[in-house]
Symmetry: C2
Subunit: 246 residues, 2 copies
């Protein structure tokens, strides 16, 4: 039972924080993942803890790309597994994507815990755990370069919610189209990806699923750099609103 | 041994992060403390990871207040104990302050670990652990209202690095002058304290110690609200520099 009162002005953010703590306690989330979540919380706070129209635009572009891809793969790490395992499975089913566990701080036990929670959430198949399927992508150090030959290695489009900059760059160099969720519009991941959804994954993923379900999506013009600049402008406006004399 | 290369552009931030992880492993830091550190990291990143002139101004004002106080007390939580135990002891000696352990997520074992690390760092006396000394301050729920009758309860000036908003408000209501370190210039703590040093405590505390050692400090005009507004303006400028077309 949560102890957070519903009336708390930032209750939703606190619920999400609780999910991370539970995820840590059940061996899904790394210590570094808890700190990374904190970093995201600040950006979310500066963005007003809601899906901006820029995020919505990126979601629409991501849905179009996913629905028109040949071999989409969703990469899952500990934080994502703790936050929205059911939604990951739903998105994979809706878009006919593979799901692959891919950790920044590789750890076999944690991987197994993540697979377990994804299967509990309805996943039939989870890639990234069979050593016989290991393939390397270039441009990364040894532990972090391993991907699954039936997953990311083969993918044309990869969804990487909450990904590290080096890895995003390596995926781009390997010729993938990259969709990411990243609350920091200035991060290397945000700037390197083809489509960056600057929003809390916990909030945005349901919107992405709904969008992917639409039968007729039109290709709208989308410029990731311009969209990121618009998000930064939004943060500046929010700062000005909260501290009027700055 | 740290694995972080010295050449890494953000090596210092990563070293600090390592201190928190070690502090967690040795029972000083709470899970929530790891996330709180991440929130601070984002603000530090937006502030350019350096002591701004506004922070320096707040440090000077804080040194003057501390050197002219009658009964100063430094409140220590898990994150502070993990980051800078030696500096806390040095600041206490320089300013003739008491040191009190005061946790947001109260936990006897964690308290003992914090006392141990402070004593190892040279503290002769650490308050906040003797139940016979418990006093309540009003305006807070039960677990968080307890302070030491020879410490915060009696203090005229309290230094609360990394403090919660409710508690800062309660300290103000109890008639204390409050000095805080808070990387979020928009937080309730930042806005409620008399002097808010918007800087990483790990970086700013040594500057505060040096300032307190100066034999003749002059009282310079200091307006906390105006100083916070100047910090927010600095963040806006940094955002504009990093994303020129926003």
């Amino acid at each position: 039972m949560s102890l957070i009162p519903k009336s708390h002005p930032r209750a939703k953010s606190l619920y999400i924080r609780e999910k991370l703590v539970k995820g840590f306690d059940s061996g899904l989330v790394a210590k570094e993942g808890l700190m990374a979540h904190g970093r995201g919380e600040t950006f979310d706070y500066l963005l007003g803890e809601k899906t901006s129209k820029h995020a919505q635009k990126a979601i629409s572009a991501a849905a179009f790309l996913l629905n028109n891809s040949k071999y989409p793969v969703i990469s899952v790490n500990g934080n994502v597994a703790a936050l929205c395992p059911r939604e990951i499975v739903k998105l994979a089913k809706t878009t006919n994507s593979k799901v692959e566990v891919n950790l920044f701080y590789s750890n076999e036990k944690r991987k197994k815990n993540i697979v377990r929670i994804l299967k509990k959430a309805g996943a039939k198949e989870v890639l990234g755990i069979n050593p016989k399927n290991s393939k390397r992508i270039s441009g990364l150090d040894s532990a972090r370069r391993i991907v699954d030959k039936d997953g990311i290695y083969k993918a044309d489009v990869v969804v990487v919610p909450l990904e590290d900059g080096d890895r995003t760059i390596a995926l781009k160099k390997a010729g993938k189209k990259v969709i990411t969720f990243d609350l920091n519009p200035l991060s290397r991941t945000a700037k390197t990806a083809d489509i960056t959804i600057v929003d809390n994954v916990d909030r945005a993923i349901n919107k992405l699923i709904s969008e992917c379900k639409k039968s007729r999506l039109r290709k709208a013009p989308f410029n990731n750099k311009r969209n990121l600049a618009a998000v930064v402008l939004e943060i500046k406006k929010n700062l000005a609103r909260r501290m009027p004399h700055a």
